[in-house]
Amino acid sequence: MSSSAYGGDGPADVSAAPAMPSSMTPSGIEIPQVATADMVRNDPGRPGEYPFTRGIFPNGYRGRLWTIRQYSGFGSAEETNQRYRFLLARGQTGLSVALDLPTQCGYDPIDAMARSEVGKVGVSVATLADMETLFDGIDLAGISTSFTINGTAPMIYAMYLAAADKKGVPRESLTGTIQNDILKEYVARGTWIFPVRPSLRLIADCILFSNDATPRFNPISIAGAHVRDAGSTAVEEMGFTLANGLAYVDEMLRRGGDINRFAKRLSFFFYVHMDFFEEICKFRAGRRVWAKLLHDRYGVTDPKALMFRFGVVCGGSSLTAAQPYNNIVRVGIENMAAVFGGAQSIFTCAYDEAYQIPTEFSAETALRTQQVVAYESGISKTVDPLGGSYYVEYLTDQMDHEITKVIGEIETYGGAEKAIEDGYLQSRIARRALERKLQTDAGERVVVGQNYFRREDEGASDFGEVFKLDAKAAGQTIDRFNEVRAARDGAAVAESLHRLSEAALRDDDNLIPYMIDCAHAYVSIGEMVGALKNHWGEFQEPVGL
């Protein structure tokens, strides 16, 4: 082709070995040839002790292994229920529900906006009936369930509680997580519905209600993962996420929350990509920065409220469609980084996940990867085995410094809320994503099988088995939705929706109990969202580049 607009033509010979890697981490931190004792500034202390650099528990994974939690969901509630039973029968220890886009954006399956998207990237849950089918035969008190849900998190949480009520499972016994982190949806993931202000109110409603009603449940998982996969560096991932975390803390304080109480139920979620040590140190540093912020700035005294608990996903944009089996190795390395970093729950992507919904075979391989790391490698037998390594402590200190700097930049701008409403963070990430893509194109960043060590004879990607969604699933979901609507008590629907709508006008009222009433009356997700949109409108996305 003609000369490049960016001046780089990439590696001339794709089968050639790359030059020695850069002496910088991907976030731009200098890597010493040899780390020495004099480079370590901070004493890492002991695990289970403030500021928790070495982990939040004194006994690490000896007390309790991380939760093995594979993200899964597609098609109809029946099909997804079958996949859950398959994974649980093979030793998975928690469920993670992938919901389809209409459910995430607040549209019923019959809505024109939902057309062609029902059941595609996750399962459709439009009413309590779908939630009941999804967990048919699964003991809600015996398993922790995580929902990747944000814009409609309060409605899905309400339906989950209603499903537990109907099964006779006490609410206080429920464990699990709703992601419920709207700020990062505006920045990277895109399933926002309402403007920022009412969205923050809904999140505070969830946290305040959950602290009382479901004290073992995490009502928010403040997530950097999507910002990372959208192109940010590891430092920005942690910095943006902690800045969003502070915005939620401030919102909760405005609502009169007790920080020593609600901070115990704040949890976090991140990606693990390929730079092994940077990922490990990101978590060690993040734990320390968060604990110090809460302690120094907010005067938090309860040690449990200072603990930075997090889940991770391994894979994402670090995986390639080319030579997909290489992804199993990548995910294995990332899985180990998560363990050295002290994660509380881990999801390992399947090798074909860059491209399609995993097959049963690829999903099982991803699960087995975690079991090999957990039970064969021995790396979880002692707490923070890398603690005290000159390099790991040096890099943790550097990450701490850089993460703190990013938080400072956002605060100087005016805080996370303003930075998001203006589109400042969005533009920053888009630029970073272009930079990263150009580095890969130019061969400065090595992706084995994609820009180096390619097989020129490789045709279309070979995944072996290809997952095919049941073409009839969407039609069945829509039929079922119509049946549920026809069978429900119209007066109860109208009454509960009216009460929700009225409550939305009172800023000091908590909307979750009204949504649980709606859920019990089989009010749909689209109907609940519609009632609130009437008052609040929709977020206006800044589209400047």
Binding site: Q104, K120, A430
Partner: protein
């Protein structure tokens, strides 16, 4: 590159919120001299076709990573034709399985771009179609 003076609409049809690819391509096309209009997320095909015709663009790029590309592309083509915009070259980027590429080309798509392609190659391919 001779994209100077060209107007290109980059659009996100459907509910898919993955906008990195769309924004990266939009920035790269702008760096290559084009005037780029970005729709933002969650736009219906009829909205996209309307903007394309109203703004008199030289090309439309759709970014789709949700697996709904066949339906969304067909609908966008239909809407463009209904507004006499059937002649505007249409490109698609995202997670597009190899098996679906022929069907998209039959529907009138002039170029299909996936994440493993170099940005320069994507820009050059668009340039080549617009230069014709």
């Amino acid at each position: 590159m001779s994209l100077a003076g060209k107007r290109i609409l980059i659009a996100k049809p459907g509910l898919d919120g993955h906008d990195v690819g769309a924004k990266v391509i939009a920035l790269a096309l702008r760096d290559a001299g084009a005037e780029v209009i970005y729709t933002g997320l969650r736009k219906a095909p009829d909205f996209i076709a309307n903007v394309a015709v109203e703004e008199d663009v030289d090309a439309v790029g759709l970014s789709i990573l949700s697996g709904s590309h066949l339906e969304l592309v067909a609908e966008t083509v239909r809407q463009l034709r209904a507004l006499d915009g059937g002649g505007i070259p249409l490109f698609v980027g995202g997670t597009i399985p190899a098996d679906d590429q022929a069907a998209l080309k039959d529907a009138g798509v002039r170029g299909i771009f996936t994440a493993d392609m170099k940005i320069d190659d994507v820009v050059a391919a668009i340039d080549a179609v617009l230069a014709r």
